[in-house]
Symmetry: C2
Subunit: 378 residues, 2 copies
Amino acid sequence: MKGVRPHSRRLTLSDVAKASGFSSSTVSIVLNEAPLSRYVAAQTKQKIRETAERLDYRPDVFARSLRSRRSHTVGVLVVDLADPFCTLILQGIERKLMQTPYLPIIMDAHNQPNQVERYVKMMLERRVEGLITVANWLLFKMEILEQVSAHSLPNFVVGRGLQSSRIHSVSADNETGGYAAMRHLYELGHRQIAFIRGPRRLADTRFRWKGVRRFAREHHLRLHPKLTQSLPETSDFMSSFECSRRLTIGLLESGECFTALLAFDDISAYGAIRALTEAGRQVPGHCSVIGFDDIPAAALSSPGLTTVRQPMLEMGEYAAEYILRSLEVRSHELRSQGPGSQAKEAFRGQNHLLAAELVIRGSTAPPRQQGQSLSGAL
Amino acid sequence: MKGVRPHSRRLTLSDVAKASGFSSSTVSIVLNEAPLSRYVAAQTKQKIRETAERLDYRPDVFARSLRSRRSHTVGVLVVDLADPFCTLILQGIERKLMQTPYLPIIMDAHNQPNQVERYVKMMLERRVEGLITVANWLLFKMEILEQVSAHSLPNFVVGRGLQSSRIHSVSADNETGGYAAMRHLYELGHRQIAFIRGPRRLADTRFRWKGVRRFAREHHLRLHPKLTQSLPETSDFMSSFECSRRLTIGLLESGECFTALLAFDDISAYGAIRALTEAGRQVPGHCSVIGFDDIPAAALSSPGLTTVRQPMLEMGEYAAEYILRSLEVRSHELRSQGPGSQAKEAFRGQNHLLAAELVIRGSTAPPRQQGQSLSGAL
DNA sequence: TTGTAAGCGTTATCAT
DNA sequence: ATGATAACGCTTACAA
């Protein structure tokens, strides 16, 4: 038989059964710690576990899934992995799932709506037991996700823009965030504030703006319409850099005076900063800039970007927790043969909000009086 | 039967068989376009495809994998997803795999060596047909990956730091990159250049430095040891920001004169910039700074960061291609029953290098004469 | 307390 | 050209 590779056949359950002297059912029951294993003698368990260990037995996931109808996987659909907003959310999800037998199956739609659809289908085919969608920039049709709910799988959306849907979700408290950003600028002494709002259709845009307006109302601050611009309905998160830069140039050329600029998010804040510095205005010397999100770059740049942090790690963890809990509820239902309970509904609200926290860095400062020194600009 | 959910049983192959009037073997052969399908009448094929389509038949991946011993998945192990260096690589991998029946299974080790080990095992258990490791910051033991090779699966590493291993890999041409960075500074007129080198143990560090030294030698430029600092052996990519900032402060305090600084990577470049601006030095006005990698933030900050771009997308694509090709070779081997051929070895070299390209942005400029104007600093 | 046996939905090897 | 039939490795009634 020289030349023929032995191709050592994989070790199966019945190998362990033979080696331990018990039947494969007993072995299966013991190794899975199935309910029935309560009735198996401690000695037997011990022996079985030992031999399994000794032989380094690894169950075949496919056979197991085929038979048990469970995949022990959770689908994670990322609309665009390149968006820095996403990665921490993913880490949050993974961190939670790591402690469980569930494995996240991550797919990246590259910001292409048809990929989203394709991947949802693939997820379903791969029999994920739940789906988490990380929607950084929500311009794909939510209806696609209804398929998942139709299969009565736990379905959850984390991140931007979910407004009216029956799908549970978590996002940062945009309104309070917008409010906090405004207050920060106000407390520094700014009264002439320019705004780069997000795309109008985005729910986030509206919520943040609501917070801004609420603060303005409470403090008798007039929001000058000429200082208020909106990003176009772009599909690509990166394009908002360039759009924001253009809008800021327009703001500058309009001749209107402003000492601070509140941007929709960090990317657009950087676009604004680029326009300002190109026009010879220092940040924060001549103009303070504040963003939203706290993407990793915000801590890197000089000056650091003052921003409103979305708790992305926590959002990811929350999403994973939701799925885990739903799965738990479900298996209880099955066990008790009861009809669908509404225990799941108890999960704090349809769209949960996590606090957004102001992170003060170097891009904001008190407005400078005319003629004041240029030094100490940082 | 009221109250009992019908729980509509999944549609199986034999359902399609019955509906189309053929046996399940024929249906299977046709739907898979197996070799044997060449002998199936065109009419039959047509009919079978139609009914499968009509019933919206979806094969069960688990049954299929169990039987065929193939998973059609490729494992992608990311050492740390939060590293901006990784995401584009991932997108490159995915972009390539998208066009094939292979699905990437992405796992993120959160920069924890024991997670790497655990996930490699899980990958193996999930029967991935190949493994791509995205090693942004290589401080875990490569030996873990030997397990994969031991299972005689295609095994590939993309990114930083692979030096001496039998595992194939792709990385940017660090030496040429270092050389290009040097040349750029030199051509701008810089002669007093400070260096923040990477951790000594990292292969990347050595290659980049080699390029730097080669340029210096060729142009009779003396590299002042006092201006040459090394980052410590950190495990976390983000900590290099702070380390670099500290080293730069030291450089500044040493009183040595330098008009440009060449950093190990973009993160450390930003650390240096922070130190410089905090010390009141403008970039590039008083000091030019150049990085390495071209992480997304490099285009966002103002001034934009001049850097040496690692072609991450291409590196990812290359990795996926390697796996795909290996898989192809393998199935040919199986078909021809031959012993392991060395066709695989023909894949351009053990460690393939992709060109690193200089990206000139705003953080580098000609050195300024003493007393020159401050304006136009960008 | 443990063993027997019947599938899960495919694919592959034979026949015909 | 197409159809039986036997695995693949596991879980789970049910039997003992």
